[in-house]
């Protein structure tokens, strides 16, 4: 009976069932990989000889691309927002619109997206190449745990350094917005910063940075997971890099929504409890 069912062409229900099953298997495998990484973190921290080059690659070498992205996004936001606000004679409030958008959403999401593109793809390709050329087996044969040696340093580098990259994107975005608004469009410098200060709370900055840490963790785990499950040959490595970016980008968007809802609820709770400093 079952054999005859399998022999027939798959119906849409079969196809949907297979997709759902594969999705659940993939999520389960990724979760297992995450726990293996967290298990690796519980042991000895990576040696500085291994950790520093990864941190340099993830942190220092990402600064230019993230700075440029932040700067131009701030400038574009100013150009796009100015005309609308001017219609209502609210152009003096442009600083609040740009800077709130940057600090709460665009800074963390864009920094994470750039990190997923620049660092995540490279991680997936590097680890994928190591897998294809048996270097991961060689690590095992030489008594090193591939998760501890390859994944944990990358996880730590992304998790620790993405807040700094997010703040750089925020800062450069604000600067770009200020240049266009104040220097080019003639908005008052005083009101630009006054309204920015009034509308941005410490909680906005903290929640943006906290979100970015989750994004960094997700990017590193997904990229390393794709690398470890890379198919054979150049095509397999290329696909691992592409999958890494696509999955990371989706994860960033989903995490963003979940974390926004969660953090807003926390904010309301803290407000109700009298933490007005936030």
């Amino acid at each position: 009976m079952s054999a005859s069912l399998l022999d027939t062409d798959p119906t849409p229900i079969h196809t949907v069932g297979r997709l759902v099953t594969n999705f659940i298997i993939a999520i389960g495998d990724l979760t297992r990989f995450l726990f293996l990484t967290l298990g690796g973190l519980m042991g000895q921290l990576p040696r500085s000889r291994v950790l520093w080059p990864v941190m340099y690659e993830v942190g220092v070498r990402s600064v230019p691309v993230i700075a440029v992205t932040g700067l131009f996004i701030g400038m574009v936001l100013a150009v796009q927002t100015y005309d609308t606000l001017r219609m209502y004679r609210l152009e003096s409030r442009i600083g609040s619109v740009i800077n709130v958008s940057l600090v709460k959403e665009l800074g963390p999401v864009l920094a994470a997206t750039m990190l997923a593109g620049r660092v995540g793809c490279a991680m997936a390709a590097e680890i994928g190449t190591m897998r294809v050329t048996e270097q991961i087996d060689a690590l095992k044969a030489l008594g090193a745990n591939p998760i501890s040696y390859l994944v944990v340093p990358r996880f730590l580098a992304c998790f620790w350094l993405i807040p700094a990259l997010t703040l750089i994107a925020d800062g450069l975005g604000m600067f770009g917005g200020w240049v266009v608004s104040v220097q080019m469009l003639g908005v008052s410098d005083h009101f630009f910063w006054l309204y920015s200060q009034q509308f941005i709370t410490a909680f906005d900055v903290i929640s943006g940075v906290m979100k970015s840490m989750f994004f960094g963790a997700a990017i590193s785990i997904i990229a390393c997971h794709r690398g470890f499950h890379c198919g054979s040959g150049a095509e397999g490595v290329g696909r691992a890099a592409t999958d890494s970016f696509v999955c990371s980008f989706i994860a960033i968007l989903v995490l963003d929504l979940v974390l926004v809802i969660l953090l807003n609820n926390i904010f309301r709770l803290l407000w109700a409890l009298g933490f007005t400093v936030l």
Partner: protein
């Protein structure tokens, strides 16, 4: 280079240092090995031969504990690998050195760092002591000190294999696995690698498992030969191991699958292909 002489094989009654018991391996829906049993005795050199894709490298990785079987059991020194704790597994694995097919040198490190890797990760030796060991191992495989600073991408195929061997020997292993050590090398360099395998076996009294297609390697280094047949072409109910014995007897085998392979004769295979 002086040609070394093979050491006499140990009696088959010695307890196997490595053992596969009724092992099967499947990757998804692809079956690679089915019900394989292979023993490797202390001090012997076992050579695995067979057509490409028959599962030789998978068998070697199973023996080395780099892969887990889908079914069956892998034993080291008579004890199942699965029964070992992570700590025991880590300790015991250091007794095995592995020369990979493409050498598998770490691209991000130079030759010195590659050979020093196992020592840095698993011992508390001072860097000066590690340096002595690394240079000694490089000398053993015929490489000059100047090579130590080179990147793997700057090395020829033969040099990569020799660095891979130096790395495999750095931790003074009891068992060394060689996965296609002479593939892609010129005849002279192939002979150099064969000689190094013999020297290693003689000088260090190691147990060796060699995967190869090279019949010169089989003739020169093998104490015992095991031939695997691709599972897709094994008749139902027939074993996948189609030969187990000495190298000399393999060349005299009456099984046409064995004799045609070791002599490199395509006739029987061509008939099979056309029939298919």
């Amino acid at each position: 280079m002086n040609s070394s002489v093979k050491s006499p094989a140990l009696p088959a009654t010695a307890a196997p240092v490595l053992e596969l018991r009724g092992v099967s391996v499947e990757f998804g829906s692809q079956k690679v090995l089915q019900d394989i049993s292979v023993n490797v005795h202390r001090g012997e050199t076992l050579v695995l031969i067979g057509e490409s894709g028959c599962g030789k490298s998978v068998t070697t990785k199973l023996l080395a504990g780099l892969l887990e079987p889908t079914r069956g059991e892998v034993r080291w020194d008579g004890r199942p690998v699965r029964s070992r704790s992570a700590r025991e597994m880590h300790r015991d694995r250091l007794r095995y050195g592995y020369l990979f097919q493409g050498a598998a040198l770490f691209d991000s490190m130079n030759v010195y760092e590659n050979v020093a890797f196992g020592l840095r990760e698993n011992t508390k030796l001072k860097e000066s002591q590690i340096r002595d060991v690394v240079l000694e191992r490089l000398r053993e495989v015929g490489l000059a000190e100047v090579v130590a600073e080179k990147r793997p991408s700057d090395l020829s195929g033969g040099m990569k294999k020799r660095v891979g061997l130096a790395r495999a020997l750095a931790m003074s292993p009891d068992v060394v696995f060689y996965d296609e050590p002479t593939t892609g090398l010129d005849p002279v360099m192939s002979d150099v690698i064969n000689e190094l395998i013999l020297q290693t076996q003689l000088n260090r009294k190691v147990t060796s498992v060699v995967v190869t297609h090279d019949m010169n390697t089989v003739r020169r280094v093998a104490d015992r030969v095991v031939m695997l047949y691709p599972l897709s072409r094994v008749a139902p109910g027939q074993p996948q191991v189609i030969y187990e014995g000495t190298a000399e007897n393999a060349f005299e085998s009456e099984d046409v699958r064995v004799s045609s392979f070791v002599r490199g004769e395509a006739g029987a295979r061509l008939k099979e292909m056309y029939a298919a």
